[in-house]
C-alpha cells in the first residue's frame, strides 16, 4: 500500500509544502482532478486550523501529516501537539443565513467535513490526531496496454512492427499507449495502419495515445493533418497525467 509522511513546522509558511505533499498523494491515488482538489482543500483547511488554533498563544511545534491508500480510500492523518481541539465542538455555520447575520467562522471545518467522507478526531498522550478519509473511484488506468513500436513503419515494416498491437486490438483492448521512440520512419502505409487501429479503438470508445515521436515522424503527422486526429504526447508520463486528469472517464 503506498504511503508517505511529512513533518513540518506548524506555521503558515508550511502550507505550500503541505500542498505539494497532498498533490503527490492524489496523483498516486490516480484521483480525478476534482477529487484531488477536494482533498487538497480539506487537508489545507485541517492544517490551517491546527496552525492557527492548536498552536495559538503557545510556541508552535511540529505538524506531522501522513497518508496511505487502502481499499479505494485515501486516508490522511494529521498529528500535532498543540491544545486539544475537537472540530466537532465548532458550531456549524448556517449557510442559509442572510448576509447581515452571516458569520465568517467555522467555515474551514465545515468544508473539511463536506469535502471528505469521514473526519475523526482523537486526543491522547501522543497528541491530537485528525483522520480524514476520502473514497475515490479507481481509475481505469490498469487497463492501459503499453507497446514499444520499433523500426520503420513503411510498406515493408509496418505489418510486423504493429503485430502485437493488432493482436491486442483483436483481443478487445480498449486503451493503448504506443511508444514511438524507436520508430525512425513513417510512411503512408504506416499512417494507414495506425488509422485502422484508431478506428477500432474509437468504435469501442477507448483511448489510443502516441508518445515519443521522433522529429521526422512528428513532421509526417503535422504535414498530413493527422496530428489533429491522433492523441499525441511528448512522453508516456505526459500521456498518463492527461489520462488521469480525465478522471472518471471510460
Amino acid at each position: 500500500m503506498p504511503s508517505a509522511s511529512l513533518t513540518v513546522p506548524a506555521q503558515l509558511d508550511s502550507l505550500s509544502e503541505i500542498c505539494e505533499f497532498v498533490n503527490s498523494a492524489t496523483r498516486q491515488a490516480k484521483m480525478s482532478e476534482r477529487e484531488a482538489w477536494q482533498v487538497q482543500l480539506a487537508v489545507d483547511e485541517a492544517a490551517t486550523n491546527i496552525i492557527q488554533h492548536a498552536y495559538a498563544d503557545i510556541t508552535p511545534d511540529t505538524l506531522r501529516i501522513s497518508w496511505e491508500i487502502a481499499a479505494g480510500e485515501l486516508i490522511f492523518v494529521l498529528v500535532d501537539h498543540g491544545k486539544p481541539f475537537d472540530p466537532d465542538t465548532v458550531p456549524t455555520p448556517d449557510i442559509n443565513s442572510s448576509f447581515e447575520d452571516r458569520q465568517g467562522g467555522g467555515l474551514g471545518i465545515y468544508m473539511m467535513k463536506k469535502l471528505m467522507d469521514t473526519v475523526t478526531y482523537t486526543f491522547d498522550a501522543s497528541g491530537n490526531t485528525l483522520t480524514l478519509r476520502k473514497r475515490f473511484a479507481e481509475a481505469e488506468v490498469v487497463d492501459l496496454q503499453r507497446f514499444v513500436i520499433e523500426g520503420r513503419l513503411d510498406a515493408r515494416g509496418t505489418l510486423s512492427a504493429l503485430t502485437p498491437v493488432n493482436s491486442a486490438v483483436s483481443a478487445g483492448a480498449r486503451m493503448l499507449l504506443l511508444d514511438m521512440q524507436q520508430v525512425s520512419f513513417l510512411s503512408s502505409s504506416g499512417l494507414r495502419a495506425l488509422l485502422l487501429v484508431r478506428r477500432e479503438i474509437n468504435e469501442r470508445h477507448g483511448v489510443l495515445m502516441l508518445v515519443g515521436l521522433q522529429p521526422q515522424v512528428d513532421e509526417v503527422f503535422t504535414m498530413t493533418g493527422f496530428a489533429q486526429i491522433f492523441e499525441i504526447y511528448r512522453t508516456s508520463n505526459d500521456a498518463l497525467v492527461a489520462l488521469n486528469a480525465r478522471g472518471d472517464q471510460g
Binding site: 502550507l15 489545507d44 483547511e45 490551517t48 449557510i95 448576509f99 452571516r102 465568517g104 468544508m111
Partner: protein, 118 residues
C-alpha cells in the same frame, strides 16, 4: 504558490485583480490591501477572481468581513459601499456554492460589468 494583487483605481471603484492562491498564508495581504483602500475613504471595491486558482476559508472570511465594513458606509439608504466579485472560475464557484457564499455576494461575469454596476 503565491498570490499577486494588482490594484487599479477607477472613478467608480477600486479594482483588485487576484492571482494565485487565497489561502491562510495569503489572506492577510488581501485584508491589508482592502483596509488601505477603506483608509482612504473608498468603500467600493471589485475583486476580479478570474485568475484566482484557489480559495480556502481564511480568504472567505476576509471577503465577508470586508463586505460588512464596506456596507456600513452609506451615501443614502440605497447607495453606499460594497465589495463585488467578478470572474469566478468553476472551482471557486464550487467553494462558494458549498459554503453558501454565492447568495451572499453580488457576482458578475467579468470585472468590466462589476465596475459598471457601481
Amino acid at each position: 504558490m503565491e498570490m499577486e494583487i494588482t490594484h487599479t483605481r477607477m472613478n467608480r471603484a477600486d479594482l483588485l485583480t487576484l492571482k494565485g492562491r487565497l489561502d491562510a498564508m495569503h489572506a492577510p495581504a488581501l485584508k491589508q490591501k482592502i483596509e488601505e483602500i477603506f483608509g482612504e475613504g473608498r468603500y467600493r471595491i471589485v475583486l476580479d477572481m478570474s485568475e484566482l486558482e484557489y480559495v480556502a476559508s481564511p480568504g472567505l472570511r476576509v471577503l465577508i468581513e470586508a463586505r460588512k465594513k464596506a456596507r456600513d458606509w452609506k451615501i443614502t439608504d440605497l447607495e453606499g459601499g460594497d465589495i463585488r466579485l467578478a470572474g469566478l472560475s468553476s472551482r471557486i464557484r464550487e467553494v462558494f456554492d458549498l459554503t453558501g457564499f454565492t447568495s451572499l455576494f453580488d457576482i458578475y461575469t467579468n470585472a468590466t460589468e462589476a465596475v459598471g454596476s457601481f
